[in-house]
Symmetry: C2
Subunit: 285 residues, 2 copies
């Protein structure tokens, strides 16, 4: 496994894979890797001749008041994990090499990125789209891997790739959860033991909605109302949103005529957590 920080060196290394006719998978990450990331890397290793993992805490997707400086980092541990699982190249650029002092170009997706986290974090998806497109251009992969935990991000990137005709297949992998049901996230490290118990309400709320759907509930407002009520019952949970959306367009949905996504965001202490799940009425199964 090669660790590369320099862009010219990265291009040269990947050009040599391409010249040898090898397929390339990319797993973009912000590091502090957990089993969710590792599942993406394993999938890429199984589907491509070579796998590049990028580790870059991208400043442009954080708002000034957010946790850019405190975002957890542990590069040595990350490199050990990636080496074990068979990554070929780890790209860890410094922010200066990604953004010149007179940097001035951004990519925006204006429909899927508008609501949900896009509403509470203006500019976040501009940062995400821009850095992901840069990473695609830097690495030129056949396939790129994203987790469903960041479901809106996944769909925004799919739309960007479609709209800009980027020649890459976007592959998504299911959410990986801790034993207590909490979706794996690098930010879980921020949670105190008490907050950790509150955090469980997000996945519990989603399971509750899935059970209600299995019992016949088809009204989106009834489902979101029920989950809101359950989350609000814990004073340690401050809801940002509880919504049900079309899984592809992220358009609003009124009743369950087909598969939909329930998406949640809440603050637990100072930590912003997100989670989501598919809701499938049994007549669709």
């Amino acid at each position: 496994m090669r660790k590369i920080t320099n862009i010219a060196e990265l291009r040269a290394a990947l050009d040599s894979y391409r010249a040898a006719g090898k397929t390339l998978g990319l797993v973009p990450t912000m590091g502090y890797l957990h089993e969710g990331h590792i599942s993406l890397v394993r999938r890429s290793v199984s589907e491509n001749d070579a796998t590049v993992v990028s580790i870059f805490v991208n400043p442009t997707q954080f708002r000034p008041e957010e946790d850019l400086d405190s975002y957890p980092r542990d590069l040595d541990r990350d490199l050990g994990l990636l080496s074990e699982v068979g990554a070929d190249v780890v790209f860890c650029p410094c922010p200066d090499s990604m953004y010149a002092t007179d940097y001035s170009t951004y990519v925006d997706e204006y429909k899927l990125a508008a609501g949900l986290c896009g509403a509470s974090r203006p500019g976040h998806f501009r940062g995400v789209c821009t850095v992901v497109l840069k990473l695609f251009n830097l690495t030129g992969p056949q396939r790129a891997y994203f987790g469903e935990k960041d479901y809106q991000q996944l769909q925004v990137i799919r739309r960007m790739v479609r709209d800009l005709d980027v020649p890459v297949d976007i592959v998504s992998c299911p959410i990986v959860r801790e034993a207590d049901g909490v979706a794996m996230s690098s930010r879980n490290v921020y949670l105190s033991p008490g907050e950790r118990v509150s955090a469980q309400r997000l996945s519990q709320g989603l399971r509750m909605a899935q059970e209600a759907v299995a019992q016949g509930e088809r009204s989106c407002s009834a489902l979101t109302g029920m989950v809101r009520h359950y989350l609000e019952a814990d004073p340690g949970v401050v809801i940002d949103y509880v919504e049900i959306k079309d899984p592809n367009t992220l358009d609003d949905v009124v009743s369950l005529d087909g598969e939909v996504r329930m998406l949640l965001a809440a603050r637990v202490g100072k930590t912003r957590l997100i989670d989501n799940a598919l809701l499938i009425p049994k007549e669709v199964l």
Copy 2:
């Protein structure tokens, strides 16, 4: 020479060039080709194993009040010219295949695109950046060719390519002029014989500025003032801007300490014309 309208067919054709190890040059155009375009195609043919020319009147770079519908088109003539000069593939997509009805992703460059034509045509460079990036992603060229007549466009694209790490070399070619000095443009066809005489003032104004620099003039305000005065002397010319800028950053310049660009835009009748020229103080030569 192959004419291709379908995106999947284009990708397949270009993949076969790439698989054969051939280098690819791209010349993006809006068609109605003149000797300026042809100079780009000749240069690409001489520098690459294969040359793709795109012909696409891109709707997203026109403002609602602009000349999208009346923009001149003559595909048969264009194909004849391109075949003569040795293009390999001509890509002429329909607008529907470039922009889905729910299209929602745009690329913006915010510094170089802000002034000059960007000030009079808000959204124009968003359309240009977006379609050019799409064409890069659709064709994957080693080199792409742009004319210096659209000098701001050239520099905005260079900046976009740098910022987004697009793996393409941008090659620029000098302005090609008619015998009367008017910079070649598809829009020249709009000019009446009388307007054509007025249009000559743009290139004459630029030459006048170059001569003044040769005589020792170093003040940008004196130079732009002189050219404004000359353009305004013809009531058929309505100035949009007369400016002198740093040739790379398009920042304002006060006096000629090095090479600068003088850029003009003016309306002659209903036709908006642009032109530009390098001003080089002799101590730099």
